[in-house]
Amino acid sequence: MALAPLFAMAARNLGRHPRRTGLTVTAIAVGLAALIFLWGFSDGLHSNLVRNLQDTIVGSIDIHPKGFFQRPEITKGIVDPKHIENALEEAGVERWTRRLVGFALAAGPRHTSGMVLMGVEPETEGRVTTLGDKVTIGRFLQADDDYQCVIGAGSARSLGVGIGDTLVLMANDRFGTLATEEFTVVGIATGGELGIDSGMFITTVKALQEMLEIHGQVSNYTLRVPESRLEPVYSALREKLCVERFDVLRWYDMYPMIHEWIILSDGFHLVFLSVVLLIVLGGVLNTVLLSMLERTREFGILMALGVQRSQLALMVAVESLLIGIIGVVVGATLGIALVMVSARVGIDLSALVGETRGFYVDPIIRTRLDLQHLWITMLGMLLVSLLAALYPAWRATRLAPVEAIRHG
């Protein structure tokens, strides 16, 4: 039997109460657009957070001797760097740098204090992190530096040194004897994150190797890869490197809190999504059931004319599906447009949050469109329209023609 006239009727029925249909479509569209935008905002925030964390000092992946991350010992480093560098090349990683990490005492004119020692290679460090940008007074280390150093502003204050002053560094060398060396302060770094401000002593790998007689040794390789390549590179490296000797850690293996926070936040978005979907479901159901109730007599007439109950059900279902689809198309377009625009323009939160110092978020948030999250949201909304279509359709199959005709 021909269904075309019934579908045409379903489409016309939407125009019966244009304002009501419009309101329902708007509710779906605005709800969906808001969901997409909110999630886009939070995705933008997260990726900013992750990027800043990696950029500042952590990098994306770190390779070091097994157990080094838990108990760093500067003289127990990687002795065969070639092995690792081959693996890096095979995995297609181009942005990497080498570091020496440990602990030491630094003595200034006023004070002596324990510090985290970090040797960097100035010529490659900039490819991996923006550590150099944290230097606010003086300059960062350069390729031809050796016994120069950069320290945090807090340490500079407590040690009582400024640019051009010298610090005496004391650390155990390879043989366990105390080695001392003088370093000239060339830069002072500020930045609340990861103790850069207080207790960090940054110098060159070269100087430390010489001072501690660990020539050719480094503690770790720090890599920077795009977030999308993180997992493939990670597995490739784990395959190539002997995991008995080396730890390959992703940024979130080292700093799980931010990662867990993101997972939690996405979970929250799912809950939020469900709540909004439930509200939308109620709204659409209300509209469709109301319009069914108004047309009960008409349904009775249709059945008397020879329209099957299943055809009525189909017509009702098509009506609410149409509402849902229009709402989803409009809402998705709006939501995606909003995310795209604010990804380009950025949302300036500096008036609200000021300068975030202890946290890795820029005050200007650029929203980000995560396709998976977009699909989840859109599918959820479509599913809800489908649900809102099924119940009224089922009701239509339960109509008795005589009662329906007597109605109204």
């Binding site: 039997m1 021909a2 075309a4 006239p5 019934l6 009727m9 016309r12 029925n13 125009g15 019966r16 047309r295 007599r297 008409e298 007439i301 249709l302 059945m303 008397a304 004319l305 020879g306 329209v307 099957q308 109950r309 299943s310 199959t397 339960r398 109509l399 008795a400 023609p401 005589v402 005709i405």
Partner: protein, 259 residues
């Protein structure tokens, strides 16, 4: 091909208000021949609508046989009765017969399209029947732009556009003033004469009864009779004593939506 279009034998139909049965049809026999124009008369509440609904297969009789064009409705599932209606029975109700979102033409063409016929053919059919009922100039009007009498005429055109064996009209003139009502009846008698479509029309309008067509009188769910030997009507409890359905059958009825 038999000459009998409607064959109703000893039909009972009860409505239950709580536990109290009410026999709306209490043993009715009706026979309508092909091409007849039959009027179903009776006071309000006498069971006219109930009888028409049962004849149209909109609901089933509790007892007795209802056959239209030889088809026994008691042995026809609901979906098939609906399909049968689409091919064979046109309905005209008292008022508000039309689909609000469709114009006159579309209302008439709709049933034809449902029957699976070509769109252009249906448009021609619709135009033909609307012209036939005198609405050739109002094809584009929506129902709310038509008077009550015009709406009823569209409904008549729609019933005939199905090319049915039988048209059932339940008080088609009740909502019209008497002269408009008379015109509608004249229209239907003319159509009956011109196209030999069978009509069964319920009414308590004196003008309809005076039109000279054969009349069946209903009273309290029975045909009026002058036969002194006819047995008295069955009391409600007896008329409505239908075999109680067990839980399984009731559940089945609830699932399929059959009362």
């Amino acid at each position: 091909m038999s000459d009998t279009i409607i064959e109703v034998k000893d039909v009972y139909k009860c409505f239950w208000v709580g536990d109290v049965p009410f026999p709306a049809l209490n043993g009715v026999d009706v026979e309508v021949k092909r091409g007849q124009f039959m009027v179903l008369a009776g006071r309000s509440g006498s069971g006219k609508s109930t009888l028409l609904n049962v004849i149209g297969g909109l609901e089933l009789a509790d007892r007795g046989t209802v056959k239209v064009c030889g088809r026994d409705f008691n042995e026809t599932p609901a979906d098939e009765r609906t399909r049968f209606r689409l091919r064979n029975i046109g309905f005209v109700f008292q008022a508000y017969n039309l689909i609000g979102v469709l114009n006159a033409m579309e209302n008439v063409a709709f049933v034809c399209q449902l029957q699976g016929k070509e769109n252009s053919e249906c448009m021609d059919t619709a135009k033909h029947w609307l012209t036939e009922v005198g609405l050739g100039k109002l094809l584009d009007r929506r129902p709310h732009q038509l008077s009550g009498g015009q709406q009823q005429r569209v409904a008549v055109a729609r019933a005939l556009a199905m090319n049915p064996a039988l048209v059932l009209a339940d008080e088609p003139t009740a909502n019209l003033d008497s002269s408009t009502g008379r015109e509608l009846i004249e229209l239907m008698t003319r159509l009956n004469e011109d196209f030999e479509t069978t009509f069964l029309i319920s009414s308590h309008d004196p003008a309809v009864l005076a039109a000279g067509s054969p009349v069946i009188h209903l009273e309290d769910g029975r045909l009026l009779s002058t036969d002194p030997n006819r047995p008295p009507p069955q009391p409600p409890q007896a008329a409505c004593a239908i075999p109680q359905r067990n839980w399984g059958q009731r559940f089945g009825a609830w699932i399929t939506g059959k009362s």
